[in-house]
């Protein structure tokens, strides 16, 4: 089966998958009360670690596992900084983005002996890419059920709305938030691995290209729900796919690239109906 429409749908899914992972990570963090603007850094760390480990061990599967672990570790750094040291989440997130950018560029030179881009490594291949795309949708379903149908999910959502109430129920909101940032970091790391070992077979500086910020837009547009964010991510993926179709149509590609961000700005005005962040989103909890 082929044809322009099938190609377009395929490309949409390919472009949407990393956005879905990162957007789900964003939803989980914000529902727990952590505004994670370090998603971009976590994608970068996942993408780089995946390729570096695949290169050093020769196994893309080990690269996949390492990329997820590295993303979770990056997420934990944010979680620890925000819950244990009371560092402002926004400031910490900005710092962690710089840290990831510099660290991966540095690591690239150390591991591959060249700046800019790594050499090609064994990737997960076409089948691996499609498994990861399918997994992204599965992750949205799992997160939906976990958030709305489990006791853990109830605690996470309560931490995003009213952490003091969680505390009076005898649970430490700081731990709930820390775990949420780690799982989210792992999800974002997986999104990064998808970029470097799924869609491509190498790492290059700046390859995440702002997807972590598009994901934040998808969270707002999806009204802080897993399915909503997934839908927004698919929409933004379709925009990215449309760019290829419209390359020669005279519509500036920059405009297409800017649309997700402009949509997010519009959403902030409340133009698209009521969009309310969790009550304690980004509000530090201290004792």
């Amino acid at each position: 089966m082929s044809g322009p429409l099938v190609d377009f749908v395929e490309l949409t899914l390919v472009k949407a998958a990393p956005l879905i992972y990162a957007a789900l990570a964003g939803v989980l963090c914000e529902r727990a009360g952590i505004l994670n603007i370090a998603l971009e850094g976590q994608l970068t760390v996942g993408a780089f670690t995946g390729v570096a480990v695949a290169f050093l061990t020769g196994s893309p599967l080990l690269g996949l596992v390492a990329g997820i672990a590295a993303g979770a570790l990056a997420g934990a750094l944010l979680g620890i900084a925000a819950t244990r040291f009371g560092v402002d989440q926004i400031v910490a997130g900005t710092g962690l983005n710089l840290l990831a950018l510099g660290g991966c560029a540095f690591g690239l030179t150390v591991v591959f002996g060249q700046p800019g881009a790594s050499s090609e490594v064994h990737s997960l291949g076409g089948r691996g890419e499609w498994i990861l795309i399918a997994l992204a949708f599965l992750a949205a379903i799992v997160l939906h059920f976990a958030l709305y149908r489990t006791a853990w999910g109830l605690r996470v959502r309560a931490c995003g709305e009213n952490p003091k109430a969680v505390r009076s129920a005898g649970i430490d909101p700081r731990n709930v938030r820390l775990i949420a940032t780690m799982i989210a970091g792992g999800l974002a790391g997986l999104g990064g691995v998808y970029l470097s070992l799924g869609e491509l077979d190498l790492y290059s500086d700046g390859m995440t290209a702002g997807r972590g910020f598009i994901a934040l837009a998808a969270v707002i547009f999806g009204r802080w729900t897993p399915f909503g964010a997934m839908g927004a991510a698919i929409g933004f993926g379709a925009l990215a796919a449309l760019q290829f179709t419209l390359q020669r149509s005279g519509i500036p590609s920059e405009l297409m690239q800017a649309l997700p961000y402009l949509a997010a700005l519009a959403a902030l005005t409340g133009i698209a109906g009521r969009a309310r962040a969790p009550q304690s989103d980004g509000v530090p909890y201290t004792e």
């Binding site: 505004l35 603007i37 750094l77 900084a81 040291f85 009371g86 560092v87 402002d88 926004i90 400031v91 910490a92 900005t94 710092g95 962690l96 983005n97 710089l98 840290l99 990831a100 950018l101 510099g102 660290g103 560029a105 540095f106 030179t109 150390v110 700046p115 702002g210 910020f213 934040l216 837009a217 707002i220 500036p252 920059e254 405009l255 690239q257 800017a258 961000y261 402009l262 997010a264 700005l265 902030l268 005005t269 409340g270 962040a277 980004g282």
Partner: protein, 334 residues
């Protein structure tokens, strides 16, 4: 002070460790870094150029922070300021003496426009200024790229940049054959002016009150929405002015890559300077050394220059924690 020194030492130790990982001798690495930044008059001039380019957005970030607003968008505001300066500067036909002030003011206006967009979202709609400024950063870069490559493309330009500004619009240099211009004294004057505004004016008091205790400020009759709008617009103007000085003083044209992330590094500078305009001057010089010495370090000691970005990120996380620890120590009775 001692704590700040401790953080600096810890960061230096981590940088040294990174150099060892990269297979370099840290002593050689640090020596190359400082020689590249301070090894002669030309090197010092270039370090001061980096100091200047960092100082404008750092003051912008600190100004907004003091008013309780997270301006993560200094990068975008700086780019728009530079873009406006470049587009006007390359086309402007006014006598030299007028050209420079016109271009600088236009750049500041561009940055103010960009900053106040986030300010409006916050003031009118209660939208999160962090998300707004993050999004506006990327839109700024895309807009600049589109305009410079597309409809406003200058015939003389080769890449994603405007044509060169006529020499009459270049900022006067302080030291012959360097890129060090009067932008540095302008930035330092701005820092002193901000210090005066914060300490001696009602407006500055209102800004600080809105930042330190918004609820009390509201009850005291301070209009928080208006304060947020004005603070974001002025913060954007400072960053935009910085972009305009890079165009008129350093590159003599607008290039889409005019900032290696000054707007983000500025957050580290502002925190190191404890959000105090005068201490930020010193902090900007310290980060200027890192920026200008990193290439020499890479060339002579074979340490990838990205170590600097890594350490800057670490500094932001560490210093944000230090501030909190210091505040908690102040408030807790024990």
């Amino acid at each position: 002070m001692i704590r700040a020194l401790g953080v600096a030492l810890a960061l230096a130790a981590i940088a040294a460790l990174a150099m060892i990982v990269a297979g370099a001798n840290p002593i050689v690495g640090f020596f190359a870094l400082f020689r590249g930044a301070l090894g002669g008059p030309n090197q010092i001039a270039e370090t001061l150029v980096q100091t200047t380019s960092l100082l404008f957005p750092s003051l912008a970030v600190a100004f907004a922070f003091r008013a309780g607003l997270f301006n993560i968008g200094a990068e975008g505001q700086l780019i728009i300021g530079g873009l406006v300066a470049g587009l006007i500067g390359a086309r402007l036909n006014v006598p030299g003496a007028l050209a420079i002030p016109v271009i600088l003011v236009a750049g500041a206006f561009g940055g103010a426009l960009w900053g106040s967009t986030a300010g409006v979202l916050r003031a009118r709609f209660g939208g999160n200024e962090v998300i707004a400024t993050l999004m506006l950063n990327i839109v700024a870069a895309l807009l600049a790229n589109y305009l410079v490559v597309g409809p406003l493309h200058s015939p003389g330009a080769t890449g994603a940049e405007t044509a060169q500004l006529p020499e009459s619009s270049w900022l006067p240099t302080l030291l012959a054959d360097t890129r060090l211009t009067i932008a540095l004294p302008i930035a330092i004057l701005l820092a002193f002016a901000l210090r005066f505004v914060f300490d001696r004016t009602i407006f500055g008091y209102e800004l600080r009150a809105a930042g330190d205790a918004p609820e009390a400020a509201r009850r005291a009759g301070i209009n928080l929405a208006r304060t947020a709008f004005v603070a974001m617009a002025l913060s954007g103007a400072m960053a935009g002015l910085g972009g305009a000085t890079i165009v008129t003083g350093v590159l003599h044209r607008f290039n889409v890559a005019l900032s290696p992330g000054y707007g983000f590094i500025a957050i580290a500078v502002a925190l190191v300077g404890d959000l105090d305009p005068l201490r930020i001057i010193v902090a900007a010089f310290a980060f200027g050394i890192l920026q200008s010495g990193s290439l020499t370090m890479q060339a002579y000691a074979h340490v990838p220059k990205d170590v600097v970005t890594f350490v800057e990120g670490l500094a932001i996380v560490a210093l944000a924690a230090r501030r909190f620890v210091a505040e908690r120590a102040k408030t807790s009775p024990a």
